[in-house]
Amino acid sequence: MRTSFIAKKPSVLVFLLALAAFTIAVTILSEGFGIGVISTSFIKTLGKTLCLCLIAVAMDLVWGFTGILSLGHFAFFGLGGYMIGMWLMYERTRLIVSEALMQGQIPPTDAEVIEGIGNQIFGVVGSSEFPIVWAFADSLGLQLLLVVLVPGILALIFGWLAFRSRVTGVYLSILTQAMTLALALYLFQNDSGLRGNNGLSGLQNLPGVETPQSIVSMWFFLASALALALGYTLAAWIVSGKFGSVIRGIRDNETRVRFLGYSVEGFKLAVFTFTACIAAIAGALYYPQAGIINPAEVVPIASIYLAVWVAIGGRGRLYGAVIGAGFVSLISTWFTGGQAPDINLGFYTIKWVDWWLVLLGLSFVAVTLFAPKGIGGLFDRLKKEGGA
């Protein structure tokens, strides 16, 4: 009876093998570790894409399996990015400021160093005082803990209030969107303590590390691949047993689950909070590769894109979410990066930078209408034809 769940779920094994093959292939082709076919900037794009796949897995757990259409998970992703960004920016500025002050005749006092860092970081918003939220920014360990704690506690409080009032369906979606918007608007303010709309920048430079970006980018790429592998396996394990049965039951008929004696609110809260933490970890890996985070990343539209990726990939199946996020975000980069050739119709030229969103919207409508199971649903069809 005690066979491992991977043996029972061949799709997990297939996914892990495919991810490993992809990672090895990219490593061999990379500039940093391999023969240099793939540029460092594209390595970063691929690494970021893996992080987006990880948050898509989280979104699939909360939406595809539990039926909670959260439009707030990108807010947790962004918060994770901010938390790691604070340490990166503080520590790097401290090194630069200390070095500059060392040039002087007398060694600087601690207070002078702190003031120097404050001036450097908060000069753009007309301040030099450290806000209270930066209290732990000098400690990597604490700030890493905050990556999970801040979004986790926010999700816990928000979820507790929403679920115990039995807010469900579209009303819950609106509520999560309101939370996301409120957070974005707060972050946009100059006195939010997080540099307003400037956000945090220079995150690609690891403090005290002289290694070139071609190597650093590979570190993050490999870390992102590992995080995706772990996150995917954990999620697959969670949904494989009775817990998976219960949350799918909640998605399909919440009342019935309640009359079976399960505390529906407790299960929803557990999934919501856990996936918020996964999203935050994905964000903490994403933004050092992106190099910059600002409040525009957190606005509700980002969370809506996330839902679109998962829908296109096929919700309720974890590999579908990964395929959706990977595929759509990569072609989105291609279209909006100006690489896609414009189409000249004679009377009008379709510029993909402008028209990509229209294409994305149309494909979302098409998937919803004609292939409700998404790209992942095609695998079922292949399986059926193969079996028949």
């Binding site: 009876m1 047993g241 817990f243 049965s245 219960v246 019935r256 557990a270």
Partner: protein, 246 residues
């Protein structure tokens, strides 16, 4: 026989309409009871109150030897106390297999963490097999519940209720939409279940109630109109008035 559930002086109104009006009702351990009454008599509302779905405006609902009030508990807590409910429309989890449906219903710790770590043991699988056999679904265990016929869904739901090992089973119109053979099977299941626990069956169909051969409670306008054997209540002039119109 000791009283298992005691409902006394319960009233509830929706927008001024008194759905339940000073209702009192008792049921003992291991008793089978049929509740009949015309549409709007308050049968379903009565079940809603006992299972915590609806809060009454006044009255008491007392449960078990410890005489705890059910009014302070939510649906899940009441279910864990040992009250199982079958809805009128068969509600099973259609996207999951019959086995998964049963496993979810088995009486186990319902906490988030213990559910997460739960892996069915051999004994659990045997219990599922026994339940499936009892409701005649052993051959369907690995089918999706959504593929079952209407009658099979009803039995699956009854089987899931038995898996919960409740002390009181509330069953809402189990025979609706069933063929005569299916009805017979269903009535046997309920009579069998009532040997070890209390079962309350709400039903319209007099023939089905007769087959249950148990005490009958007639509800009308949210209160008990008559109580006794089926022959006794059907000869009651008040009941005849209510059913045939005045």
């Amino acid at each position: 026989m000791s009283t298992l559930l005691e409902v006394s002086g319960v009233s509830v109104s929706f927008d001024g309409f008194k759905a339940i009006n000073n209702l009192s009702f008792q049921i003992a351990d291991a008793e089978l009871r049929a509740v009949i009454g015309p549409n709007g008599a308050g049968k379903t509302t009565f079940m809603d109150i006992v299972t915590g779905k609806t809060r009454p405006d006044e009255g008491r609902v007392i449960w078990g030897e410890r005489s705890v009030s059910l009014l302070r508990m939510n649906e899940a807590q009441i279910a864990r106390e040992g009250i199982g409910r079958k809805f009128q429309k068969p509600t099973v989890f259609e996207n999951q297999t019959v086995r998964e449906n049963f496993l979810m219903a088995l009486k186990k710790d319902r906490g988030v963490l213990s559910v997460l770590l739960f892996r069915p043991s051999k004994a659990d699988h045997e219990q599922v097999d026994a339940l499936a056999e009892q409701v005649g679904m052993l051959a369907e265990l690995d089918r999706l519940a959504g593929e079952l016929s209407h009658g099979q869904k009803q039995w699956l739901e009854i089987g899931m209720l038995l898996a919960q090992e409740p002390r009181l089973l509330l069953v809402d119109e189990p025979a609706a939409g069933m063929t005569p053979e299916e009805r017979e099977h269903t009535s046997e299941l309920l009579v069998q279940a009532a040997k070890t626990r209390a079962v309350v069956v709400v039903e319209h169909d007099m023939e089905f109630v007769r087959r249950l051969g148990c005490k009958v409670t007639v509800l009308h306008e949210g209160a008990v109109l008559a109580e006794g054997s089926l022959d006794h209540v059907t000869s009651n002039s008040d009941v005849i008035d209510v059913y045939l119109g005045r």
